[in-house]
C-alpha cells in the first residue's frame, strides 16, 4: 500500500512541477493550488483510499506530503462551514491516533516552497492558521460557488480589459461587493489574489490565457459544479457574456483604474463621490388636500454604491447605526442604508453645515466622504416643483417654468407675502414654505415677484428620458440608468434655433448636430453604451449658422450608470413585507439569546407565518423543525422575542437540537405579500466550545483551530463562586459534573467560555445563590468583578433555559456586589429594606444625606415614572444634567459636559448590567471607576433610577435582562 502512495506522490510531483514550470513562464506567474492536481474523480477516490489505509496503521511520512496535500484540499472542497477537523477525523480513521494537524500545515508549506503554492492571506487566515491552508487550496468550496457567481453577475458591467487582466484588482472588486454574502464567503474574499484568480478563470474559461490562471481540469470541475444549480449557471453565463464583450474594452469606467482614491487626494475623491450619486434629496409630501400643509422628508440613496467604491467604509456601513440630521425617530438600523433608498421624515430643517447622514461609529475617511456629498444644498432658499403625483421634489437650481407649481422653502424666516404667493405650513422646525402657482404666461407682476423671491426663469428647452423612465429622473437633468440599458434622450425647444449641438465628455469634440429644428418638435438622441460611472451630456444651441454656439449650461444632462442588481428570493424594499434585522446577519447565538432586533412590517392586521428549522450539517434534513403560530403584522422586536421564546426556544426538542446545531433557518411568510428566509450560522471563532448532551448532563469539547503552537488553558467557575477559577487539565472532552458551571479557555488573545447548566432534579435546582467573598473597597476589586461580569455575559449558552437563568443569577449577584463596593453599607441596607417594603422612598433618602444633595433623590422620585418610558440615552442625559446641577459633576467647560455624560452612562451601565461595561468603557474603565468611587452619589442616583424603573415596569424582564427597561443597544 505504501508503494501505491509513493506512486501517487511521484505522479503528483511530476504534475505540479510541470504546472509550476508553465505558470512561471507566463507573464503573471499565478500561484498553484492543491486542487489543481489534475486527477479525475475515480483517481481522487483511489488516492483517498491509499491515504486512509496508511494512516490507519502508522503516522504520515514526509515522502507522502503531496498526497496529503491533495487529500486534505479535497476535504476542503466539500467543506461547508462545519467542523473541518471533525469531518477530517471521521473520514480518516486512525488520524486522531497517528496524525497531527501541524504536520498538515508543514506539508502545505513545503508545497508552497517547492511548487509555488498559494499562501493563505487575510485576517481569517491569521486566526485559523492551519485550516486556512486546505481551505485556500480547495480554491472555491462548493457551498461558496453560488455566491461568487452571483457577485460576478452583479458587477459584470464593471468589467474591462484591464480588470480581467489583473486578478488582484478583480478580487478587490469581488471583495468590495461581498458585504451581503455569508461570513464564510467574506473570509474567502479577503484573499483577493485567490478570488480574483478564480473569478478571472471562470469568466475567461476557454479563452486564450485562462490556462495560466487555473488548471483546465480543475476549472472544468468547478464550472461543472456551478452548472448544476440553475440560478448559478445563469449568473455565470451572464457574467461571462459581459466579460467576453468587454475583454477588449480598455480605459472605460471608474473601475478600470488601478488604485482606489485616497484621502490625500481630496479633489479626486470628491469627483469619485459625485459619481456615486449618494447626495440625499429633499421631498415634500402634502398632508392636506388643499396643499396648505407639507411634510418634508429626506430621501437617502442606497449607500451600497459607496461601499463598492470605498471598501474601507464597509465595517461602519454594515455594522453601525445611522442618524439622519433633523429626523425625529431612532437611528436607522445597521445596514439599512445598503438595501435601497430610504425616505426619512424630518421634524427639524438641518443646518447648512450639518452632515445629513452620520454613523454612530466614526471614521475619518467616511466622515470626509459624507461631508463632501451629504449636506443640504446652500440655503437659505430651496425650490421644490410639485409633480403630477402630488409630491414636491427639490430642484438643483432656483429656476422656474411657466405653468408649473412650486414650493419655495426659506430657512431664514417666513417670506414676505405677495399677491402671487400663498404661505404654507411646513411641518418642520426651522423652515417656512410658500406656494407658487405660475401661470402659463409670466406677466410683468409675476416677473417682479419671482425677482423679489430670488428666483429666475428656466430656459425654454426641455430634455427628458425617451421611451422608458430611468431608475431616477429629477425632471431637471439628473438621472440614473442601469448599465444594461442604452439611455435615449428627447429634446424639444419652443423657439426658433438653427441647430442643437449635443456632445459628451470634457472636450466636447465632434458634437452631434441636430438640425433643422422646428419649435415644438421632439428629437431623439441615442447615447452610446456607457460604462458604470458618471457621464455628462452637453447641450448647446446655435441661432444662426454663422454664429457661435451658446452653451445651455443649466440643461446639461448628468447621467449616472449603475449596475443592475440581480434578483434573488426574499423580500425587496419595494414590497409591502419588510423584515429588518439588527445586526443584519445575526449569528445563531444572537438569535437564540435574543440579541437581535427583529422588526417585521407589513399591512396592519395581516398574518405572518413562521417556521424555524435547525440543522447540524449542510445538505442534510433539519434535526428539528417547527411551524410557529401566526403573528399579526406589524411585529416589534419585543413581540418577536416573546413569540420565539414561548413557541420555540422553550420547546425541549428545540433546546436539544440547538446544542448540536450549526445553523438554523427562519422562514417568514405573509402569503402573496412575500416570503423571506433568514439563515443564522453559529459563530465560528478559532477557539470555541462544543457541547453535547448525554443521558444525564453534558459533555463539552474545546475546539482549537488557531494553529497556535501553545496549548490553551482551561478553568471552571461554579455558579456559587462565580469569580473563583478552578484550573482544569487539558483533555479531549470534559464530562461535566452535576453542578455545571462556566468553562473558560484562554489562548493568547483568544477567550472562549460556555455555561453548562446543572442537572435539575427539582425546583431547588432552578436557582442558585452565588457568593462573592468580601473584597476591599478599591477600584481593583470593582474592575475585577466587571471583568468577570464581562466573561459571564459573553459566555455561550446551551439550548436549555436553566443556563440562562443561572447566568442571570450570577450577573445579579455581581451587580449587587459592585453596588455595595461603590455605594457603601448604608445604601445596601436601604436596598434590602426597599425590597421588603416594595417602595422607593427608603432608597430616595439614601441617595445622599448631604444637605446640598438631598434634593437629588427627591427629583428622581418625582421623575422616575416619566424616565421609565424613555430610552436609556435620554436617562443618561437626565442623570448627567441633574448631577451637574447639584455640583456632583463639574460643569465649567464643554469637555465637562461630555465627561458628565460618559460618567453617568458608566454609572447606569454598572448599576443595570455590569456585563455591558468593559467593552464599552475600554481603557477608560479604571479612570471611570475611580471617579465613581470619589462621587458615590452619582452611582446611588443611577442605582435608584435602575431599581425604580424596574419596579415601575413591574420587573417584566426577558431572561437576558437583569432589570426591566435597561437594554443597552
Amino acid at each position: 500500500m505504501d508503494a501505491s502512495l509513493l506512486e501517487w506522490e511521484a505522479r503528483l510531483a511530476d504534475h505540479f512541477a510541470e504546472l509550476y514550470r508553465r505558470r512561471r513562464s507566463s507573464a503573471l506567474s499565478h500561484p498553484i493550488f492543491a486542487l489543481e492536481h489534475g486527477l479525475d474523480l475515480s483517481e481522487i477516490n483511489s488516492l483517498s483510499q491509499a491515504v486512509r489505509a496508511h494512516i490507519l496503521i502508522k503516522p504520515p511520512l514526509k515522502s507522502h506530503r503531496l498526497t496529503w496535500v491533495v487529500y486534505s484540499s479535497e476535504l476542503g472542497y466539500r467543506y461547508s462551514g462545519d467542523e473541518y477537523w471533525q469531518t477530517f477525523e471521521s473520514e480518516t480513521p486512525g488520524w486522531t491516533l497517528n496524525g497531527n494537524r501541524y504536520w498538515i500545515r508543514e506539508c502545505y508549506r513545503h508545497f508552497q516552497r517547492q511548487f509555488g503554492g498559494a499562501v493563505p492571506t487575510g485576517a481569517w487566515a491569521a486566526h485559523f492558521s492551519i485550516i486556512c491552508w486546505p481551505i485556500t487550496h480547495a480554491i472555491l468550496p462548493k457551498d461558496l460557488q453560488r455566491q461568487l457567481a452571483r457577485i460576478l453577475y452583479e458587477v459584470r458591467h464593471s468589467f474591462t480589459g484591464e480588470l480581467l487582466e489583473s486578478p488582484t484588482t478583480l478580487g478587490e472588486l469581488v471583495s468590495a461587493r461581498s458585504w451581503s454574502a455569508t461570513s464564510r464567503f467574506q473570509n474567502l474574499a479577503q484573499e483577493t489574489q485567490l478570488v480574483g484568480q478564480i473569478s478571472a478563470a471562470l469568466l475567461l474559461q476557454g479563452e486564450r490565457g485562462s490556462d495560466d490562471l487555473l488548471h483546465p481540469t480543475t476549472l472544468h470541475r468547478i464550472a461543472g459544479d456551478l452548472d448544476r444549480e440553475r440560478r448559478a449557471r445563469e449568473w455565470l453565463r451572464g457574467a461571462r457574456q459581459s466579460a467576453k464583450e468587454r475583454a477588449q474594452v480598455r480605459g472605460l469606467g471608474i473601475l478600470g483604474r488601478s488604485r482606489m482614491p485616497a484621502i490625500n487626494r481630496p479633489e479626486e475623491a470628491r469627483k469619485e463621490i459625485a459619481t456615486l450619486g449618494i447626495e440625499p434629496r429633499l421631498v415634500l409630501r402634502p398632508t392636506d388636500l388643499q396643499g396648505a400643509s407639507w411634510e418634508p422628508s429626506l430621501e437617502i440613496s442606497d449607500l451600497s454604491h459607496l461601499l463598492l467604491r470605498f471598501p474601507g467604509t464597509r465595517e461602519i456601513l454594515t455594522g453601525s447605526r445611522c442618524t439622519v440630521a433633523g429626523a425625529a425617530g431612532r437611528p436607522l438600523a445597521r445596514g439599512r442604508c445598503l438595501h435601497g433608498a430610504q425616505r426619512i421624515r424630518l421634524s427639524r430643517w438641518p443646518r447648512a453645515d450639518e452632515v445629513l447622514i452620520q454613523f454612530e461609529q466614526r471614521d475619518t475617511q467616511l466622515d470626509y466622504l459624507l461631508r463632501t456629498e451629504c449636506l443640504l444644498r446652500p440655503g437659505p432658499l430651496w425650490l421644490f416643483r410639485i409633480a403630477s403625483d402630488g409630491l414636491a421634489y427639490e430642484l438643483r437650481s432656483l429656476r422656474v417654468r411657466p405653468g408649473e407649481r412650486y414650493i419655495l422653502v426659506n430657512s431664514d424666516g417666513p417670506p414676505e407675502s405677495t399677491q402671487h404667493t400663498i404661505s404654507t405650513d411646513l411641518q418642520c422646525e426651522g423652515a417656512y414654505g410658500t406656494l407658487l402657482d405660475l401661470p402659463s404666461v409670466i406677466t410683468h407682476d409675476w416677473e417682479e415677484t419671482l425677482r423679489s423671491l430670488g428666483l429666475g426663469r428656466a430656459k425654454t428647452i426641455d430634455v427628458w428620458p425617451a421611451g422608458l423612465a430611468p431608475v431616477v429622473w429629477d425632471g431637471e437633468g439628473h438621472g440614473e440608468w442601469l448599465a444594461s440599458e442604452q439611455p435615449c434622450l428627447a429634446v424639444c425647444v419652443d423657439h426658433a434655433v438653427d441647430a442643437i449641438m449635443v456632445s459628451m465628455g470634457e472636450k466636447a469634440d465632434h458634437p452631434l448636430e441636430l438640425s433643422p429644428i422646428t419649435p415644438g418638435e421632439v428629437l431623439f438622441v441615442e447615447l452610446p453604451q456607457l460604462p458604470v460611472g458618471l457621464h455628462q451630456v452637453h447641450f448647446a444651441k446655435r441661432t444662426c449658422a454663422d454664429t457661435d454656439t451658446e452653451v445651455l449650461g443649466d440643461l446639461d444632462v448628468v447621467i449616472r450608470i449603475r449596475e443592475a442588481r440581480p434578483w434573488s428570493p426574499g423580500v425587496s424594499s419595494s414590497g409591502p413585507f419588510v423584515v429588518q434585522l439588527d445586526p443584519p446577519e445575526p449569528s445563531l447565538e444572537q438569535l437564540w439569546e435574543g440579541h437581535v432586533q427583529v422588526v417585521i412590517r407589513g399591512p396592519a392586521g395581516r398574518s405572518v407565518a413562521s417556521e424555524i428549522s435547525i440543522f447540524e450539517r449542510e445538505g442534510e434534513p433539519a434535526t428539528f423543525s417547527k411551524r410557529l403560530p401566526q403573528m399579526k403584522l406589524p411585529v416589534s422586536t419585543d413581540s418577536w422575542w416573546s413569540h420565539f421564546e414561548k413557541h420555540f426556544r422553550k420547546v425541549k426538542k428545540a433546546e436539544e437540537a440547538y446544542d448540536a446545531a450549526r445553523f438554523c433557518e427562519v422562514s417568514l411568510t405573509a402569503d402573496e405579500l412575500g416570503r423571506i428566509t433568514l439563515r443564522c450560522e453559529r459563530d465560528f471563532t478559532p477557539l470555541r466550545w462544543a457541547l453535547r448532551r448525554r443521558d444525564c448532563g453534558y459533555k463539552v469539547r474545546l475546539l482549537d483551530d488557531s494553529g497556535d503552537g501553545t496549548q490553551p488553558t482551561v478553568t471552571r467557575l461554579s455558579f456559587e463562586s462565580p469569580i473563583i477559577e478552578e484550573k482544569m487539565d487539558l483533555v479531549a472532552e470534559y464530562d461535566v459534573a452535576e453542578p455545571g458551571g462556566m468553562f473558560v479557555s484562554r489562548l493568547g488573545q483568544l477567550t472562549a467560555a460556555i455555561i453548562v447548566p446543572p442537572v435539575v432534579r427539582g425546583f431547588e435546582d432552578l436557582g442558585c445563590t452565588p457568593r462573592i467573598d468580601a473584597a476591599p473597597r478599591s477600584p481593583e476589586s470593582i474592575i475585577r468583578i466587571v471583568r468577570y461580569a464581562d466573561l459571564w455575559g459573553r459566555a455561550r449558552l446551551p439550548g436549555g433555559f436553566i443556563s440562562a437563568m443561572r447566568k442571570r443569577d450570577v450577573l445579579l449577584a455581581l451587580d449587587s456586589h459592585i453596588t455595595h463596593l461603590v455605594c457603601g453599607d448604608n445604601w445596601t441596607r436601604a436596598e434590602v429594606a426597599a425590597r421588603k417594603d416594595g417602595g422607593v422612598s427608603t432608597l430616595k433618602d439614601a441617595v445622599s444625606r448631604r444637605r446640598d444633595e438631598v434634593a437629588i433623590g427627591v427629583v428622581l422620585e418625582r421623575d422616575f415614572a416619566d424616565l421609565a418610558t424613555r430610552a436609556c440615552r435620554e436617562r443618561v442625559s437626565r442623570i448627567a444634567s441633574l448631577l451637574t446641577k447639584f455640583h456632583v459633576l463639574p460643569s465649567t467647560s464643554p469637555s465637562d459636559e461630555a465627561s458628565a455624560l460618559w460618567l453617568s452612562e458608566l454609572a447606569l451601565r454598572l448599576a443595570s448590567n455590569p456585563a455591558v461595561v468593559q467593552v464599552w468603557a475600554g481603557d477608560q474603565l479604571r479612570v471611570g471607576v475611580n471617579r465613581l468611587m470619589e462621587s458615590p452619589t452619582l452611582m446611588r442616583a443611577a442605582r435608584f433610577l435602575v431599581l425604580s424603573t424596574d419596579r415601575y415596569l413591574q420587573s417584566n424582564v426577558r431572561i437576558d435582562q437583569l432589570y426591566a427597561g435597561w437594554e443597552w443597544r
Binding site: R285, D389, G467, V472, A490, V502, V522, G674
Partner: protein
C-alpha cells in the same frame, strides 16, 4: 451617439422590455404593463399617480394621443393591481399618529400554478424584466397584463420555479372570492353598517357614483356633491395615496353618515367592495350593470364590460380567458367557447350583471 426616429426609439425600448418590437410599440398594453412593472421596481412604495407619471412622461413625442395613453396606463395599472402584480396596501411605514394612506407596492416574484401545468406569473423583480432565467423569460406569453408560461413536454414548471425562489400562490388563494350573496342581502348588510355608523361631518374631496346615470359609461357616473339626498357609493381624494372608498348617506348634499371600505378586513381593496356594492345597488333598483357577448376569433367569445369589477372577478377571467382590446367598452375578455356558459352564469349570479342583446 446618434439621432433616432420615434419609430427607432419605440423599437429599442420595446426590446429593452423583453418584448417583440416587430409586433408591439410602447403604446401597446403589453409594453405599458412592462413599463409599469419596471417603474414599480424602482419607485414603489408610491402612489398610482407616481407610477402613471413615470410611464407617461417618457412617451412625449413618441405617441400621438398622450391623454389617451395616460388613460390606458391608468386602466392597465388597475388591471395589474387586480391581477396581483402590484399590491395596494396601507402605508406600512406609517404610524397611528400619521396619515394612513394606501400606497402601491411591488408584489414579490411569484406564480399561480394551473391544472394544465401552465403557470401565471405575478410580481415585480427590481432592476430586471422578470425574475426568470433568460431561457424561461423568452418563453413567456404576454397578453396585455397577463404573463403565462406553458410547460415543455416533461417539464415541471411549478417545481422549477420554486427552486428558482419564486413564491408559489395556490390558485385557491389567488382566486378567493367573497361568499355568494344576493344583491339585496349585500345592500342590506352594508346599509345596516351605515345606520350604525357615527354621524359624519364635512367630507372634503368627496365624489359620488350617481346611480341615476347610464350604467354603460362608468366615468360619466361620477358626480360632485351638490344637494343630493340618499345613499351613495363615494370616493374621496387623499393628500397623498389612493382615494378612500366609502358608502355615504347625504341629506341636501351634507354627509350624515359614512362607512369606509373595505369593511371585511383588508384582503380586498376598498374599490373592490365599493364596485360590488354599486353592482348590487344597480341590480336592486332594476337597472343592473351590463355586459355584452359577441363572437371572437375561432371558437371564442368576447365578453365586454362597461364598469370595473372586483379583483377576484378579474383574476378568475385572467385564469380562464385572456384580456383583449375592444372599443366601446371599459375592458373585455376572450373566453374559449366551452367556458362561456359558466362565465355567463358567474357574471349573472356573482356580479348581478345583465347581458345586452346581441346586435
Amino acid at each position: 451617439m446618434r439621432r433616432l426616429t420615434a419609430e427607432e426609439v419605440n423599437a429599442q425600448k420595446v426590446r429593452e422590455l423583453g418584448l417583440d418590437s416587430t409586433a408591439l410599440d410602447l403604446a401597446s398594453t403589453e409594453a405599458i404593463c412592462g413599463a409599469l412593472r419596471r417603474v414599480a421596481g424602482f419607485l414603489c412604495p408610491c402612489t398610482a399617480a407616481t407610477l402613471v407619471r413615470s410611464v407617461v412622461r417618457p412617451l412625449r413625442g413618441l405617441v400621438e394621443d398622450i391623454d389617451g395613453v395616460r388613460n390606458a396606463v391608468e386602466e392597465m395599472l388597475e388591471a395589474m393591481t387586480a391581477h396581483g402584480d402590484i399590491l395596494e396596501q396601507s402605508d406600512v411605514e406609517g404610524d397611528a399618529t400619521h396619515i394612513a394612506g394606501k400606497l402601491l407596492y411591488a408584489a414579490p416574484a411569484s406564480f399561480v400554478p394551473r391544472e394544465s401545468g401552465a403557470v401565471i406569473l405575478l410580481g415585480v423583480a427590481a432592476d430586471q424584466n422578470t425574475a426568470l432565467p433568460d431561457e424561461l423569460e423568452r418563453r413567456i406569453e404576454h397578453i396585455s397584463h397577463l404573463r403565462r408560461l406553458s410547460p415543455l413536454p416533461g417539464e415541471n414548471l411549478p417545481r422549477d420555479l420554486v427552486q428558482l425562489g419564486l413564491v408559489e400562490v395556490s390558485d385557491g388563494r389567488w382566486l378567493r372570492a367573497p361568499r355568494p350573496e344576493a344583491p339585496a342581502q349585500l345592500l342590506s348588510r352594508i346599509e345596516n353598517l351605515l345606520d350604525a355608523a357615527q354621524p359624519s361631518h364635512d367630507v372634503p374631496g368627496l365624489l359620488l357614483l350617481d346611480p341615476e346615470r347610464a350604467v354603460r359609461y362608468y366615468r360619466g357616473r361620477w358626480v360632485e356633491v351638490r344637494s343630493q339626498t340618499g345613499k351613495f357609493v363615494g370616493r374621496r381624494s387623499q393628500a397623498y395615496g389612493a382615494p378612500l372608498w366609502s358608502y355615504v348617506q347625504l341629506r341636501g348634499g351634507n354627509p350624515e353618515r359614512l362607512v369606509d371600505f373595505p369593511v371585511d378586513g383588508n384582503r380586498w381593496r376598498g374599490c373592490d367592495e365599493a364596485w360590488r356594492l354599486q353592482m348590487a345597488i344597480d341590480a336592486v333598483r332594476g337597472e343592473p350593470q351590463k355586459f355584452r357577448v359577441h363572437p371572437g376569433p375561432g371558437a371564442t367569445r368576447i365578453f365586454e364590460f362597461f364598469s370595473p369589477v372586483p379583483m377576484w372577478a378579474r383574476r378568475r377571467w385572467d385564469a380562464v380567458g385572456e384580456p383583449v382590446l375592444s372599443s366601446g367598452c371599459l375592458f373585455a375578455y376572450k373566453f374559449p367557447l366551452e367556458e362561456c356558459g359558466e362565465e355567463v352564469r358567474f357574471v349573472h349570479d356573482e356580479l348581478w350583471l345583465e347581458e345586452l342583446p346581441r346586435a
